[in-house]
Amino acid sequence: MSKGYLIFAQNTESVDYVRQAYTQALSIKHTQPNINSVSLCTIGKVDKRYQKGFDNIIQIPDKDDAKDSAWKIENRWKALKMSPYEETVVLDADMLFTSNVEHWWDNLEKQDISFTGNVLDYRHNVVTDDFYRKAFTKNDLPNVYSGFYYFKKSQPTADFFKVFQNVVHNWGEFYSAVCPKNKPPRVSIDVSAAVAAKILGIEDTICNTFTTFVHMKPAILDWEHRRPKWYGNLAVNLLDNLDLVVGNMIQQPIFHYVESDFLTEDMVKKYESKVL
C-alpha cells in the first residue's frame, strides 16, 4: 500500500504557504527514513526552487473554493480525491517534522480515518486550555486537529468526505444546527471535520490518542501573561543537525509554528543544505 503526506498550500498576498510546505517536505525527508513521499496540492506554477522538495505537485481540481478567502482552506475537502496514496496523512503547511514518527503509521492503518486529538505546548504539556476551542467544548464535538490527520482509501472514508464537503460548503447552516454555542464566524476545517464526524456518529472514534504535535497558538502556551504572538517572545534555535530548540526546549515530534515570520530564510537554507 502506498503511503505519503499531502499538503495543501495556496499562497496569499502576505504568506508564502508553498515555501512553508516545501520546508516541511524537507523536514519530512530529513526525519522519516522510509515513509517520506510528499505531495503538494496547489493552484498555479510552483517556483523551481520549491519543486525539488515534492514527489508530486498536484493541481487542485475543479473550481477554486478558496478563491476569495484569506485562509485558503476551502479546498481541503478535496484531499481524498487528490491523494495519490492508498494511505495518506494530511498536514497543515506551517509545520516541521523534528523526529521520526513512522511507527504511528502502524496504528493509523487500523482505522479508515483518524485525526489528532491532543496537542502539546512547546514545553510538551498536553494542552487543556479551550481558549480557541469553545465551539468544541460547548457543543460536545470531538476535539479534532486537522493539522495532522490520516485516511485510507475506503468506503467509510468516502462517506466521511462526502459529508465533510457538504459541511465545508454549507458551514453556516451546519454550524448553526450542530454547534450553535460559540459558533465560529467563518469556516474552519477542524470544526467542519468534527461536525461531519458527529453527523456520521463516529465522534467517539475519529480522534486517536497517539499522534500529536506542538501547537504554537499563543493563548495555549501556559503563559501567565498572554501575548498576541509567540514569535519574538521565545528564543528560537535551529541547530546544525536540524534539532529545533524553542524556549530552551527541544521540539518533538512535529512543530506547528503557526506564525509565518518564524520560518526565516536562514532556516530554509539550513534544511536545503542538509537535505538536498
Binding site: 501567565e224 530552551n248 518533538q252
Partner: protein, 289 residues
C-alpha cells in the same frame, strides 16, 4: 562488593540577619534522628571560627572561602507584615561534588525540617542524581505557584535545589560542573531564560544544567526524590516547633487574602521559607543541647 560511604551535607553561609549555622545545626539534629546518617557541614570561615560549640553535632566541618560575584541582596519576608533586606549567600552549592566526604550524598537546605526517613530510599537506588520537580504547598487551597513550575513564564521546568541526592560518578561531576558554568555565566543564562531578577538562584541554575545535559529536555536521565517535600511560603509563620513531638505549628496565609489559619504539621519533610521564624524556633531548640 565495595561499601560506599553515605552521608548528608548541609551548607551554612551566614549573613547579617540569618544565622544559617544555627538553622543547619537544628536541621542536622532532625536529619540524624530520622535518617541516622552522618552529617557534614560546609560553612564560611567567619562562621567556622565562631561556631565551634556545635561541631560535635557533625561528622565533619568544612570551612570554605566565598566570593560574591553576583547581586546577592534579597528581601526575606517574615510573615505578611515584616520583611528585611539581606545578603543572600548561596553560590557555593556547585562545589558539593568536590567537598563531600561521602560516595553517596544527600544535600538538604537548612531551612527544611526533616520529619521522616523517605529520603533513605535513594541510597539503595541505582540513580546517580535525584532531584525534585514537585513540591506541595502546605496550604492546599493556595493552588500551584507558577514560580515553582517553570523558572520563568516562558522557560523550562523548575527543579528544586533544596534537596538532592547524588552518587559520585562522571555524570554527577558533569552535572555540578555545568551548574558552575551556568553560575559563572549567570547574566547570560538568566537572560536566555528570560529571568528578570539578577539574583542568582540555585534552583534556576540546577534547572538550567538539567536542561543543558538533557539536550534541552529530550533525555530525562535523573530520578525524582522519594516522597513529597511540603513547603510553606515566606508569608507563613512558624509559630512553634516541639522538639519532643516533632510537631510544627504554623500560621498559614490564605492566598492573596489577608486571613490566616492555624495548622499543625508532623511527620513531613517541610521546607520553611520564612527563615526568620524558623531561626527563632531553631535557636529555642538549640538552647537545650
Amino acid at each position: 562488593m565495595v561499601m560506599m560511604s553515605k552521608g548528608i551535607v548541609l551548607f551554612a553561609l551566614n549573613n547579617e540577619r540569618v544565622d544559617y549555622f544555627d538553622l543547619a545545626t537544628f536541621c542536622a539534629l532532625q536529619a540524624k534522628k530520622h535518617l541516622k546518617l552522618p552529617v557534614t557541614i560546609v560553612t564560611d570561615r567567619n562562621t567556622y571560627d565562631r561556631k565551634q560549640e556545635y561541631f560535635d553535632v557533625y561528622d565533619k566541618v568544612i570551612p570554605i572561602d566565598i566570593n560574591y560575584k553576583h547581586k546577592s541582596e534579597k528581601r526575606f519576608q517574615n510573615g505578611f507584615y515584616d520583611s528585611v533586606l539581606v545578603n543572600y549567600r548561596n553560590n557555593a552549592r556547585y562545589q558539593i561534588y568536590d567537598l563531600t566526604p561521602y560516595d553517596q550524598t544527600l544535600v538538604i537546605d537548612v531551612d527544611i525540617i526533616v520529619g521522616n526517613d523517605n529520603w533513605l530510599k535513594m541510597f539503595d537506588s541505582d540513580e546517580v542524581l535525584c532531584i525534585s520537580r514537585n513540591s506541595q504547598d502546605i496550604n492546599f487551597d493556595r493552588g500551584k505557584e507558577k514560580q515553582f513550575t517553570y523558572i520563568s513564564d516562558e522557560s523550562i521546568p523548575f527543579y528544586w535545589a533544596t534537596v538532592f541526592y547524588f552518587k559520585k560518578c562522571d555524570i554527577a561531576r558533569k552535572f555540578f560542573n555545568t551548574v558552575r558554568f551556568v553560575q559563572e555565566n549567570w547574566d547570560y543564562y538568566r537572560r536566555l531564560h528570560m529571568i528578570k531578577s539578577e539574583l542568582f538562584r540555585n534552583d534556576f541554575a540546577f534547572s538550567m544544567a538539567l536542561n543543558i545535559l538533557s539536550n534541552y529536555g529530550e533525555n530525562h536521565w535523573w530520578g525524582d526524590l522519594p516522597g513529597r517535600i511540603f513547603h510553606s511560603m515566606d508569608t507563613d509563620v512558624l509559630l512553634d516547633y516541639n522538639d519532643g513531638t516533632g510537631e510544627s505549628k504554623m500560621l498559614v496565609r490564605h492566598g492573596t487574602k489577608k486571613s490566616h489559619s492555624y495548622q499543625k504539621i508532623k511527620g513531613l519533610n517541610l521546607h520553611i521559607m520564612n527563615k526568620l521564624s524558623l531561626q527563632e524556633q531553631a535557636q529555642k531548640c538549640l538552647k537545650d543541647i
